[in-house]
């Protein structure tokens, strides 16, 4: 969609302002023209590495790249850095190196402090409340051009960023489920519920039906209880609970039932959610007739997986492939996190849905390798890279690492098979 003349805007998270002009976009974006609502000031910034997305992957990428001497512009459309981490009020898993036992929000703060450290003053520039909306072909050799719209102080400002290398750490988007009533106010994605509760301090409702017993559903379910909201139950279509047992146990000992082999059939209510119908599933995941049960609730929270964000990567024309274990279409990449287009990197959830711990390491890899490729401290960067690879392997070694491990193996295979 096009908002106030800016193409490729995700309208669902764009601020709603008086007189805002929203248009369907039916073509590739062209460079935005001056328009009446916004005084555009075109600026050109020439830097080594543009990093799109300041979640755990992007922040670590910036820190690494700058450590080896590259100049970095880190852009995020949120008003603060941290990505998903700023919603995570729970303590994280992993090992000491990834700050296990620390709450996600504190990890974000810690990384933010590092970004602001004096030693990176001349190296890292952070641009918040700004969206990288498009890639533009340019004649300059060895350079890429991107369009960035900055919304600071309610005045949009257009920035043309010219960079030698780019790292996409843009995260993921939540999956939706199809059922009657899924467009009623009160049906949310788990990420939206977390943002309302933990970032804005707003209760999404009083009584919630949680759909999905993966880690996200279990953790958000528990955070709802902590916010004083009743969780009626968790339904999960699979025959077993997908998330960690320890997360499920926390909900269970607070008297929240978890129904495996159950799904949501429909949501009812005239203008907002009044309740939902849940149904039991048979061995072939088909609803069992007559097993319907009504759940009284004002909120339905969907925690049914994430899909990597890849739009800008597709626009650049990197080789993509469908890798279900990674959560959908992803940009093929090598172990250095470089895509099929030279000096275009990807890391974190955007390269395959996983964890913040692994996103951080992938970010470090991309940052170090992008800097190395541009000629900065090649030996040191290589040594660091080898260490990060080992750490990744260690984290993915267990049974819960099987899915990302399979995903990354398939990506490697597809990568080698490219023409």
């Amino acid at each position: 969609m096009e908002v106030n003349g800016i193409p490729n805007v995700r309208t669902c998270i764009a601020p709603l302002l008086e007189g805002v002009a929203v248009r369907m976009q039916d073509r590739l974006a062209s460079w935005p023209q001056n328009n009446t609502d916004n005084a555009f000031v075109s600026t050109v910034q020439d830097i080594d590495i543009l990093i799109v997305g300041a979640g755990p992957a992007g922040m670590e990428a910036a820190l690494q790249a700058a450590t080896f001497g590259a100049s970095v512009l880190l852009v995020d459309e949120n008003q603060r850095v941290g990505g998903q981490l700023i919603k995570q009020t729970h303590k994280f898993f992993g090992s000491k190196e990834e700050k296990a036992g620390t709450r996600g929000i504190s990890i974000a703060k810690d990384l933010e402090d590092q970004l602001c450290d004096d030693r990176f003053k001349d190296k890292i520039d952070v641009l918040l409340d700004a969206t990288v909306f498009g890639f533009y072909e340019d004649d300059t050799e060895d350079r890429y051009t991107f369009g960035v719209i900055s919304r600071k102080e309610y005045k949009s400002r257009l920035i043309k960023v010219v960079c030698r290398s780019v790292i996409f750490t843009v995260g993921a988007m939540e999956n939706m489920l199809l059922f009657p009533g899924n467009d009623l106010p009160g049906v949310y994605g788990a990420g939206a519920v977390q943002t309302l509760m933990n970032v804005y301090g707003v209760k999404p409702g009083e009584r919630v039906l949680m759909v999905g017993a993966g880690n996200v559903g279990l953790i958000v379910g528990y955070q709802l209880l902590q916010a004083g909201i009743k969780v009626d139950r968790v339904v999960e279509a699979a025959p077993t609970i997908g998330g960690y047992h320890v997360h499920a146990a926390k909900l269970r000992r607070c008297s929240v039932p978890i129904y495996t082999r159950h799904s949501i059939k429909e949501v009812f209510g005239a203008d907002c959610v009044k309740g939902a119908v849940v149904v039991e599933l048979d061995d072939h995941w088909n609803p069992i007739q007559g097993s319907e049960e009504i759940v009284t609730c004002d909120t339905v929270c969907l925690a049914v997986g994430l899909t990597p964000s890849t739009r800008l990567l597709e626009q650049i024309g990197v080789d993509m492939a469908l890798v279900p274990e990674a959560g959908g279409y992803i940009a093929l990449h090598d172990e250095r996190m470089q895509t099929s287009v030279p000096r275009v990197y990807v890391a974190g959830d955007s390269s395959g849905i996983e964890e913040a711990s692994t996103a951080m390491i992938e970010g470090k890899i991309a940052g170090a390798m992008a800097a190395k490729q541009l000629g900065y401290q090649q030996e040191k960067a290589q040594t660091a890279y080898e260490g990060f690879l080992k750490e990744l392997k260690r984290l993915r070694a267990g049974p819960f690492g099987a899915k990302p491990r399979d995903a990354k193996q398939r990506i490697q295979r597809l990568w080698r098979k490219r023409p």
Binding site: F93, T240, Y244, H245, S255, T260, R396
Partner: protein
């Protein structure tokens, strides 16, 4: 398939249980029975009573070495560690609690089992703060030593 993967509730037989003598001394019990990539409990223990072969292995508590200090209880991101100490006809259960309001020392609270079922009342013996996690010690009838794992204020 073990039942806990279906229900989210483990059974006593999933755990390595301490002896009666060890329970009287007081021990940490890690109710962490799935191979997940996590190990902060190992680093948190001042007497190195918790060990793990690699980050994805299960934590093993050396019940003889454990001094029941409760450090690990507040560190574990899974809120899966409990210290149990039997004292006469009472059991003192130390558990992590991340809800408000926090209970007060001496207060009587409902005590719950792993399914969230009320098992009666318990008395709050101690309330400690470790970061933003409250570490609560509650006293219950000895027969509930291996059942009570939550409180409701």
């Amino acid at each position: 398939m073990s039942d806990f993967e279906n229900t989210g509730i483990l059974s006593i037989s999933d755990l390595v249980l301490p002896t009666n003598e060890q329970l009287e001394k007081g021990v940490a019990i890690t109710e962490c029975i799935q191979r997940i990539p996590c190990n902060p409990c190992v680093d948190s223990c001042p007497v190195h009573a918790i060990s793990m072969k690699d980050i994805n292995a299960l934590p093993v508590v050396d019940y003889d070495a454990c001094i029941a200090c409760g450090r690990c209880v507040g560190v574990c991101p899974g809120l899966a560690i409990f210290v149990v100490k039997v004292q006469g006809d009472q059991a003192l259960i130390t558990l992590p609690y991340e809800f408000l309001p926090r209970p007060q020392k001496g207060e009587s609270v409902s005590v719950l089992d792993r399914a969230g079922k009320t098992m009666g009342k318990g008395k709050i013996i101690r309330v400690k703060q470790q970061g933003r996690t409250s570490i609560i010690t509650v006293s219950v009838e000895k027969k509930y030593a291996m059942d009570v794992r939550n409180i409701r204020v």
